[in-house]
């Protein structure tokens, strides 16, 4: 007979990650809709402000980042909601493993599904907004380090509101103020890059935010999930 299937943390992480990715791939709306939202929000700005290249280039970093915040927010709901409704969340909480392992796996899956496509499509939208060429690398780098922070902090908000019937608007009220530091440093890095100045300082701060939220957010998410399933 087989030996008992005791999982190491990395195996558990992979198990949950694979499950969430499989579900997302069989339910592609979850990937495509937030992305479409991101694109549409960004196209609205030239229509509202006017197609003048200098103005658009000036506000492009802010627009792209605000749109990224909003589309992340929109996609956050899927992180725990269906698991909460069908009882999978209880089973995860009752598994003999620490909560942070599978929470991190779920957040990572969420980022792969919603954050990564956003980064891939961003250069295209930046071109639509006449973002100066020297800013492109900065845009990609800030999105690459910054969007995981959005997923991690957002997950705290979802974990707190998952049991509430109409939690959508409440979620944005809770989460958006916490996104402000990422927004400030990311747009400033892109602006600085536009002036051909070094922006590694801002990147370092975003990286610091990333590592802080990577270590602290899972604790808050776990505590919040336990309250929500109570």
């Amino acid at each position: 007979m087989t030996t008992s299937a005791n999982l190491s943390y990395s195996k558990l992480f992979n198990l949950v990650l694979k499950r969430d990715l499989t579900i997302a791939l069989r339910h592609k709306d979850d990937i495509i809709n937030p992305l479409l939202f991101f694109v549409i929000i960004i196209t609205l700005f030239p229509l509202g402000i006017g197609p003048e290249a200098n103005t658009l280039a000036r506000i492009a970093p802010g627009i792209i980042w605000v749109a990224a915040l909003l589309s992340t927010l929109l996609s956050l709901d899927r992180l725990f909601k269906s698991d909460y409704q069908d009882g999978s969340l209880e089973q995860l909480l009752l598994s003999p493993y620490p909560v942070f392992v599978w929470v991190l796996a779920k957040v990572f899956a969420h980022w792969l599904i919603t954050g990564l496509p956003l980064i891939l499509i961003a250069p295209l939208l930046a071109a639509l907004l006449y973002l100066p060429e020297q800013s492109f690398v900065a845009l990609m780098l800030t999105l690459l380090i910054g969007t995981p922070v959005l997923s991690l902090i957002g997950a705290i908000g979802v974990a707190l509101t998952v049991g509430i019937k109409k939690g959508g608007v409440l979620l944005s009220l809770l989460v958006l103020p916490l996104y402000i530091p990422v927004l400030i440093f990311a747009t400033s890095a892109i602006d600085t890059a536009g002036l051909s100045l070094p922006y590694s300082g801002q990147l370092a701060i975003i990286a610091a935010l990333f590592f802080t939220s990577l270590t602290l957010a899972p604790l808050a998410i776990g505590a919040a999930l336990k309250v929500s399933t109570n």
């Binding site: 705290i156 707190l160 009220l173 809770l174 958006l176 103020p177 402000i180 808050a220 309250v227």
Partner: protein, 252 residues
């Protein structure tokens, strides 16, 4: 080590304690505020640059200090509540959040009112004002989350977790806004002058600060008591209290 605290983890004991403390806080606050405000508004010297409009400082700064302080204490209480599973911590979060939100709103409003004669505009994206605005959002988030839960105990826990997450973020937000402000600040914007305060301004300020602090303590006691009552409505001691109250009313 926690033994001496233990009796106060009992709702009834802490309800009584808050009731005994409340009149002291109220009295102290009334005395301090009366002296402090009269001194500050009528007798303290006007600022040589800003004139009498400077006097709003005596309300603005205590409100701003208390708004930050209340958020921090809310988070600390929530943290102890989570770690040691104190049920009363939930009630305290609920009691503190609206008071803090009101002080934040007062700080914002007085800031704007002070800004009008100083800057010629009601609002300016000054670092302190912007941080205060975001703090107001954080408070409103805690209150909204608290209201969204049907179960009071869960509401307190969830709001507590949010307060803790918020308090970790407050310094980061404050720092980032300060940094953003210096980056975007044009030459025309003048910051508040903060010269070393003269003692005749300092003393009324301190009196006002402590007066407002004791007023907060008194309101916290009051709100804490109602929260404890609401959460323990089905307990015998609360029923006995209610019975007593209705009897004494009939006697009148």
């Amino acid at each position: 080590m926690w033994k001496w605290l233990h009796p106060y983890a009992n709702p009834e004991t802490s309800y009584q304690l808050a009731g005994r403390l409340q009149p002291w806080f109220t009295g102290l606050s009334a005395v301090l505020l009366l002296i402090g405000l009269v001194w500050a508004l009528a007798f303290a010297p006007a600022d040589y640059q800003q004139g009498d409009s400077f006097r709003i400082f005596y309300i603005h700064v205590p409100a701003a200090i208390l708004s930050m302080g209340l958020y921090t204490s809310m988070a600390i209480i929530a943290f102890t509540g989570l770690v040691w599973q104190l049920k009363l911590a939930d009630a305290s979060t609920a009691a503190l959040a609206p008071i803090g939100a009101v002080f934040t709103a007062i700080a914002l409003f007085t800031g704007a009112a002070w800004g009008k004669p100083m800057w010629g505009t009601w609002w300016i994206w000054d670092a302190r004002l912007t941080s205060e605005l975001i703090l107001l959002f954080l408070y409103l988030g805690v209150i909204a989350l608290h209201n969204a839960f049907e179960d009071k105990a869960l509401a307190g826990k969830a709001a507590g977790i949010l307060a803790i997450v918020g308090v970790v973020n407050v310094p980061i937000i404050h720092y980032s806004v300060e940094w953003w402000n210096t980056l975007h600040q044009g030459a025309t914007v003048t910051k508040f002058g903060r010269p070393a305060m003269a003692p005749e301004m300092y003393w009324p300020f301190l009196l006002c600060l402590f007066g407002f602090a004791f007023m907060t303590a008194a309101i916290v006691c009051m709100r804490f008591r109602t929260e404890v009552l609401a959460r323990n409505a089905m307990r015998p001691w609360v029923r006995a209290l209610a019975l007593q109250a209705s009897e004494s009313q009939e006697a009148k």
